[in-house]
């Protein structure tokens, strides 16, 4: 990890050289070992050797979520399966989930990145760190646990608990740092107030917020209610993982792990690169990943890159992350849910066309859930109200299982859509 440790101290020119070297070898590996990448380049008559600068990356085609589904399960892996030590699954865009793999070295890099991000939030081996993420972010739960353990913190891993139990653990185990989503943090804060427990009952001092960007006023309220300082992490629930970018003590943008990822900002409509400092869609290319390289992956997230020096002294560029999405993906407590996938499951189970369904993200008891409105029609209409009810509950369970988020289906009359 010698090169890793010294990355911060590199001059801009040296940083550029290191990124170029890593980009070129990533392209060489992807081109040689993954037919999908070879075809993508060949179709444009480009060879990896043609990418001579970081800017040349713009000549390469984008990778999108649909590509993951299409090459399900292992066709985007750049190493033999024998080298894979972990396989993660996340909901995809349609029928197939997104499957990503990690080599031992990839895992090592993630541990390193996560402990870097947590160290920036002031987490030390003295902390008792509790991870509380919803089932759709179970992969992140594992990553955070590994990163915090390598830092030497005492970790309470992610487990599905009721809000009462969460709070009990938080209080009795003297948790000092909590990693969770904005919705869950808000839910905890409200529950504490409702149950008459003051923040003084907790030992909590650090809150790491991940999964979604958080509105400044909500953040302030949560910080006040829980008596904590908070740090935001940016990541992707499918690939590559959590804490791609993280806040430092200056809380002015999120430092991107530029030694592992090359960020670009493009116009979401045309895909054209935008001038430095503009807001647009964030595109990521992996620089060190062995098993599952991403080349110009469109994240669908809206962001801006700040290259000015950060008062904290960290030389990694910063990301300003906006809540809006650039695609038809809904962020439900950090889990990316693709509208097409919801349609796929409902069509499959209830033979419903896209037009008969509308979707929205709703809130229930402080947590977000996927709300599906179905216009009543003859196909699913049954005289037996019980039968209909059963069918809808089964459909909800299927959505929950496949998407990793709570779902509620409501029937409405045709006229109200």
């Amino acid at each position: 990890m010698q090169a890793e440790a010294s990355f911060f101290t590199l001059l801009p020119d040296e940083k550029h050289q290191l990124q170029l070297e890593r980009l070129q070898s990533t392209l060489n590996r992807a081109y040689r070992h993954v037919p999908y990448h070879a075809n993508q380049l060949n179709a444009l008559g480009i060879e990896p050797a043609d990418i001579a600068t970081l800017a040349d990356l713009q000549r390469l085609p984008f990778m999108e979520r649909a590509d993951f589904s299409e090459h399900y399960p292992y066709d985007l892996f750049a190493v033999p399966l024998r080298d894979i030590v972990r396989i993660h699954t996340a909901p995809g865009t349609t029928r197939n989930p997104t499957v990503s793999g990690y080599t031992a070295q990839d895992r090592e890099h993630w541990r390193h990145m996560l402990s870097r991000a947590m160290r920036a939030a002031g987490i030390t081996p003295h902390d008792i760190l509790q991870v509380s993420l919803n089932p759709g972010l179970a992969n992140w739960g594992r990553d955070y646990k590994d990163g915090a353990e390598s830092l030497g913190a005492s970790v309470i891993p992610n487990t599905q608990l009721s809000i009462e139990k969460q709070l009990m653990v938080l209080r009795d185990y003297k948790t000092t740092a909590l990693i969770t989503t904005p919705a869950m943090a808000g839910h905890l804060a409200r529950h504490m107030t409702d149950s008459g427990m003051g923040p003084a009952a907790l030992s909590l001092k650090t809150l790491i917020i991940c999964g979604e960007s958080i509105a400044p006023d909500l953040r302030k309220t949560i910080e006040q209610e829980l008596h904590v300082r908070s740090w935001v992490h940016y990541g992707l629930s499918e690939v590559p993982g959590p804490a791609v970018a993280f806040e430092c003590e200056s809380h002015d943008g999120l430092h991107i792990n530029e030694d592992h990822f090359l960020p670009e900002i493009v116009d979401p409509e045309t895909g054209a690169p935008l001038p430095e400092g503009s807001a647009g869609e964030l595109v990521l290319t992996t620089l060190t990943t062995r098993a599952f390289p991403l080349i110009r992956f469109r994240t669908g997230d809206r962001a801006r890159i700040l290259k000015t020096a950060c008062p904290c002294g960290n030389t990694l560029a910063r990301l300003q992350w906006y809540p809006e999405r650039m695609d038809n993906i809904m962020n439900i407590d950090g889990v990316n849910v693709h509208g097409d996938q919801v349609h796929y499951h409902l069509e499959n189970m209830l033979s419903l066309s896209k037009e008969a369904i509308s979707l929205r993200v709703a809130r229930r008891e402080g947590r977000k859930l996927l709300e599906v409105f179905i216009r009543m029609n003859d196909t699913i209409f049954s005289d037996e109200i019980k039968e209909l009810e059963k069918l809808l509950r089964r459909a909800e369970a299927r959505l929950r299982e496949n998407l990793g988020v709570p779902a509620a289906i409501r029937l409405i009359e045709s006229a109200s859509m």
Binding site: P48, A49, P80, D83
Partner: protein, 246 residues
């Protein structure tokens, strides 16, 4: 110290190096490993000025070396220990060493050269014993020591070695790697090209893995030593040990 960007080397119309970028930090041993024909030696030839037909950028301490001939590069501080040693067999060990300082004689540095001869012989005591012997009568390991000492006589700041372990017994290889580590701790920057990946990675700080003219992997030497791909391809692990799902 040395920075290469998008180096492409040609033998006629054949592109032997297909856009390699790499960097060598001062005071480190950087190794290039890869199979036969992966372009390792071609890359060294370009850096030493022995191969004129290349494009891209090679910078030594921030300055391009494009167009410089080998003597000029030696004066700039680059010295090569070529593959197969290439000592002068009929000449004595002493004369071989003095030839290494060829570019310095013009600068009337005779006294300094004498002092360097002395320090070479303290570093490689065997050369003192064989001082007046024709170099061709030395054993393979001794010849390799002589080739390294000869390169050092030019007082390089960047020492390039092309397959120094070739044809030598493991014990001798170990000795040579020890010498390189001593030189590194004295502040010398070293680029080591090796097919013997294990020996090279054990001595090196960082490494690059070359495959048919391109870099497919780079990183800290210990990271590469632990890498399954590297183990499979270059560290002599039986391919049958691995199940290839592809």
């Amino acid at each position: 110290m040395l920075r290469i960007r998008n180096l492409k080397c040609f033998y006629g119309r054949i592109m032997a190096i297909k856009g390699i970028s790499l960097s060598v930090a001062a005071g480190e041993i950087t190794c290039l490993i890869g199979a036969n024909g992966s372009g390792k030696s071609t890359l060294l030839s370009a850096v030493c000025g022995l191969l004129p037909d290349w494009t891209g950028g090679i910078e030594l301490e921030g300055q391009s070396i494009k167009g410089l001939d080998p003597p000029a590069l030696v004066r700039r501080g680059i010295s090569l220990v070529p593959e197969g040693r290439l000592i002068f067999p009929p000449l004595s060990v002493m004369d071989n060493l003095k030839l290494g300082a060829y570019t310095r004689y013009k600068k009337r540095a005779a006294n300094a050269i004498e002092a360097d001869l002395e320090s070479m012989m303290s570093m490689f005591p065997i050369l003192r014993e064989r001082f007046r012997q024709p170099a061709g009568t030395l054993s393979g390991g001794e010849q390799q020591m002589l080739a390294i000492a000869r390169a050092l006589m030019a007082r390089p700041r960047l020492l390039l070695l092309d397959e120094p372990s070739m044809g030598l017994a493991p014990m001798i290889v170990e000795k040579i790697m020890e010498v390189l580590e001593v030189l590194r701790s004295g502040g010398l920057t070293i680029v080591l090209v090796e097919q013997n990946a294990l020996a090279a990675l054990e001595a090196a700080d960082r490494g690059y893995v070359l495959e048919t003219g391109a870099v497919v992997l780079q990183g800290a030497a210990d990271e590469l030593l632990a890498d399954k791909d590297v183990k499979r391809a270059y560290l002599g692990k039986d391919y049958g040990d691995f199940y290839d799902a592809g």
